[in-house]
């Protein structure tokens, strides 16, 4: 489903955001990036990042300690 998957597990603030930005830069509008992170701060941060940059946060979920985000590239 996702066009690209980014494994940001084990990384702390601000690395999940920096890596997400880097991944998005290499993608085309409409594509979906799936990010997996273990940083609990990424729930608030990923929302803020998408609000600010205009990329769409399609979904977020968590299973155990892993948070998964799906972002549609603007």
């Amino acid at each position: 489903m996702a066009d690209q998957v980014l494994d940001a597990k084990g990384l702390n603030c601000p690395l999940p955001i920096l890596k997400t930005k880097k991944a998005i830069k290499g993608m085309t509008p409409g594509q979906v990036l799936q990010v997996m992170a273990t940083d609990p701060g990424s729930i608030a941060d990923m929302t803020a990042f998408c609000n600010q940059t205009g990329n769409e946060l399609m979904s977020q979920s968590n299973e155990g300690d892993v948070y998964t985000f799906e972002i549609k590239v603007a």
Partner: protein, 165 residues
């Protein structure tokens, strides 16, 4: 990054501290802002200039910092102010801090600085501090601009966020 559209937000940071712990706030904010399409200028002055040296040898000291408590075996250890006077204690604290950074998946300052350069953060080194402390410009990383208070002010007056760190 530098779309320079009308809605582009801008931020400047004045970076004044050169210890391992206080190197984090400016580089975290600078890189995150750049990732969020904010145009970032970082002005390095006084001890902050140490963060621009090609070879970083940053240390942390507990001196004058009673709030510093290192996690240790499920407890927290604070250090009396006499401790950093003892030779080797600052080195030990620095090593502890670096180990913690690695263990917790926190980026190194080197990595964050590289990310800042990669994301076209504008980096300005204070000319006066270079003169004052006789710092060789060639010892600083590439891509650094040299400027003074007026250079920062020009950016700051056109910015949405200005922070002194």
């Amino acid at each position: 990054m530098l779309d320079a559209g009308d809605n582009t937000k801008k931020m400047t940071l004045i970076v004044t501290k050169g210890t391992l712990d206080w190197a984090y706030p400016p580089f975290i904010l600078g890189t995150t802002a750049a990732a969020m399409d904010v145009e970032v200028t970082m002005f390095f002055t006084f001890y902050g200039l140490q963060l621009l040296k090609k070879d970083l040898d940053l240390k942390v000291s507990t001196l004058g910092n009673p709030a510093m408590q290192m996690p240790m075996g499920g407890m927290h250890m604070s250090m009396p102010n006499i401790m950093p006077m003892i030779p080797g204690v600052d080195r030990m604290t620095t090593t502890m801090m670096k180990n913690l950074i690695k263990k917790k998946g926190v980026a190194s300052i080197e990595d964050l600085r590289e990310a800042a350069v990669e994301m076209e953060v504008k980096i300005i080194a204070c000319q006066m501090t270079l003169d004052l402390f006789e710092i060789d410009r060639n010892d600083l990383i590439d891509g650094v601009e040299i400027g003074g208070a007026a250079t920062w002010l020009e950016e700051a007056t056109a910015s949405d966020i200005n922070l002194y760190l």
